[in-house]
């Protein structure tokens, strides 16, 4: 008797869960597979399908409708659709590509369709964000005015990045491109910025390493990773940056500041080239299709700084491009250089010479970031870029002559020290007030008595001294974001005191 009752209750719950319209017969648009190969499905039928709609390929596999023609549709398979054969039936889903996002996504690793790949529980989607959303228009935007601190002295002082800017990181393989992006993510730990790291076509081993670093440093508490490894289909690699952008836009809609890193767009362009060639779209320069510029411009146009009325959030994009043998005039590098608001140019020669980060200051620019730089930094580092350029010129010239006048010699010595102070481990980001005090010492000549090879030790000891003895000055710089004359005087005294206390690394100057 009791069993019967339970069964009745069970069937009642079950029937309450089944909406009759969900199982009733509905007309469904279908198509018949003409051919399938290399991940591209050609389908007859599907007359009313929309562009970039998801197609149900059966066996729980999906495809993306990319080519809509009069008598056939070109679909790229997302994942493995090996069960397909000529004559198989595929169906419309009436779903345009989107990812389900909620606050739970922070700290997770997802694939370009928003499915978790880190083994944890699925994400309870709060909102479906379109992969291909239109970039915000002109009126809701505002000019870039708030700095995004990378924690890297060379960048924050000379190539400042603002929130809402797009700054390209470009350089040959293994010149530290990813390191700069990761260092920037690490430095956002107290900046109230959500980070999205999009990995495109990378080895699983490198991504695992990246995740481990971020986990160890506690950066996963505010970071989302979108992963499309080298082993997944070209279609998924092509979608990854748009998925990352969609996730970033979810946080933007909540008025948050977001930093998004695309690592890297060269592989993204190559994945798109693969798809386009397989779909038999006409190819152009370097066999890329005609719309490869639009591919990246529509992505990077979605980086934005919104005004107060629209939530005031921002998306800062750091795309990465890998060059071959320093060739920045190849097709994809020139495209992305022209789209972004500046570039950080890394050079293998500098890297090998021990200059890390290997930033070529002369060729790197930031077109909008200087208006976002804090005043204190502008005060101390204002002429640094020009000085370094002059130093390099002088250095090249000095190679030819042995006897130099004292003034030139002094200039060279100073330049070498300013150069040396820009060296920094990628996982040792500095707060802006720390950077200001260090750069102040270098450009004002307080380092002239320090041997170049001792500068690393000097910096560590000096920062420790500043934190123990002049902490209130540091907080004052961080708070007021500018240097008054008194603060400058106090800072100068602090450096002098420090140098006097440490004669082993700094021989005191006759001022």
């Amino acid at each position: 008797m009791k069993k019967n009752k339970q069964a009745a209750a069970f069937s009642a719950t079950l029937s309450s869960m089944i909406a009759p319209e969900a199982v009733s017969v509905q007309p469904k648009s279908v198509g018949k597979v003409i051919s399938f190969g290399d991940g591209v499905v050609r389908v007859k039928g599907l007359d009313d399908i929309q562009a970039s709609e998801l197609v149900d390929l059966g066996n729980n596999q999906y495809g993306l409708a990319l080519n809509l023609e009069k008598d056939q549709t070109g679909i790229v398979a997302l994942g493995n659709a090996e069960h397909l054969k000529a004559g198989s039936i595929v169906r419309r889903t009436e779903r345009i590509l989107s990812v389900g996002v909620s606050d739970d996504i922070i700290g997770r690793v997802v694939d370009p369709l928003g499915r978790v790949v880190d083994g944890g529980p699925a994400i309870n989607a709060d909102k479906d964000m379109l992969l291909e959303a239109k970039a915000p228009g002109i009126m809701p935007r505002e000019s870039v005015k708030q700095p995004l601190q990378t924690g890297i002295k060379a960048i924050d002082a000379m190539i400042p990045i603002g929130r809402g800017q797009r700054e390209l990181i470009i350089g040959d393989r293994s010149t530290g491109k990813t390191a700069i992006a990761l260092g920037t993510i690490l430095n956002q730990n107290d900046q109230d910025v959500i980070c999205v790291y999009v990995s495109i076509g990378q080895k699983r081993s490198s991504l695992a390493q990246t995740i481990e670093i971020l986990n160890k440093q506690g950066a996963m508490d505010y970071t989302v990773i979108v992963a499309a490894n080298a082993s997944v289909s070209a279609a998924e690699q092509f979608l990854a940056p748009y998925a990352g952008q969609a996730i970033a836009e979810y946080f933007l809609s909540k008025g948050r500041d977001v930093l998004i890193v695309f690592d890297d767009l060269t592989k993204h362009a190559q994945a798109y080239r693969e798809i386009s060639l397989l779909l038999r779209r006409p190819s152009g320069r370097e066999a890329y299709p005609g719309d490869v510029f639009y591919l990246h411009s529509r992505l990077l146009e979605r980086a934005v700084k919104l005004n107060k009325d629209n939530g005031g959030g921002s998306i800062t994009a750091l795309p990465i491009i890998e060059t071959q043998a320093n060739d920045v005039s190849a097709y994809i590098p020139t495209n992305v250089i022209s789209i972004t608001d500046g570039q950080i140019y890394l050079e293998a020669d500098l890297f090998n010479a021990g200059m890390k980060p290997a930033i070529n200051v002369g060729l790197s620019v930031s077109r909008v970031g200087s208006s976002a730089q804090i005043k204190a930094m502008k005060q101390v580092a204002g002429t640094m870029k020009l000085d370094l350029a002059q130093f390099r010129e002088l250095q090249a010239f000095a190679q030819f002559s042995s006897d130099l006048d004292d003034k030139t010699k002094a200039q060279l010595e100073r330049g070498e020290r300013v150069n040396a102070i820009l060296k920094q481990g990628w996982d040792e980001p500095l707060k802006v007030e720390e950077q200001v005090t260090v750069i102040f010492a270098a450009v004002k000549g307080y380092l002239d008595g320090v041997a170049v090879e001792n500068i690393g030790t000097w910096e560590i000891e000096y920062l420790e001294y500043m934190h123990t003895s002049h902490n209130e000055l540091l907080t004052k710089i961080a708070k007021e974001k500018m240097m008054t004359e008194e603060m400058e005087k106090e800072l100068a005294e602090a450096v002098e005191n420090f140098n006097a206390l440490h004669p082993e690394i700094a021989t005191p100057q006759e001022a």
């Binding site: 869960m17 089944i18 909406a19 969900a22 199982v23 017969v25 509905q26 007309p27 469904k28 648009s29 279908v30 198509g31 007859k44 039928g45 599907l46 007359d47 039936i89 169906r91």
Partner: protein, 77 residues
């Protein structure tokens, strides 16, 4: 004259009377068009019929209903 291509899939072979009824129903919806009717017997559909008219499918088979039920229930967890 426009030709429409229709496929009827069923678990068992349909009688001529049943097929006539089906083709008449289709013709009534698409007046003035020539109808090419193809029949497929597929025991995997278990029961009922599936009608594919050009690129539109009406799936009233037991298999199709079970699949939809499966997806529908899975969505709720």
């Amino acid at each position: 004259m426009k030709t429409i291509h229709a496929t009827v899939t069923s678990a068992v072979k349909l009688s001529d009377k049943q097929l006539k009824k089906i083709s008449e129903t289709i013709k009534a919806k698409h007046t003035g068009a020539k109808l090419e009717l193809e029949t497929v017997v597929d025991p995997a559909v278990i029961g009922g019929i599936k009608l594919t008219i050009d690129a539109v499918e009406f799936d009233a088979t037991v298999r199709g209903k079970l699949d939809r039920l499966h997806d529908h229930l899975l969505q709720q967890f």
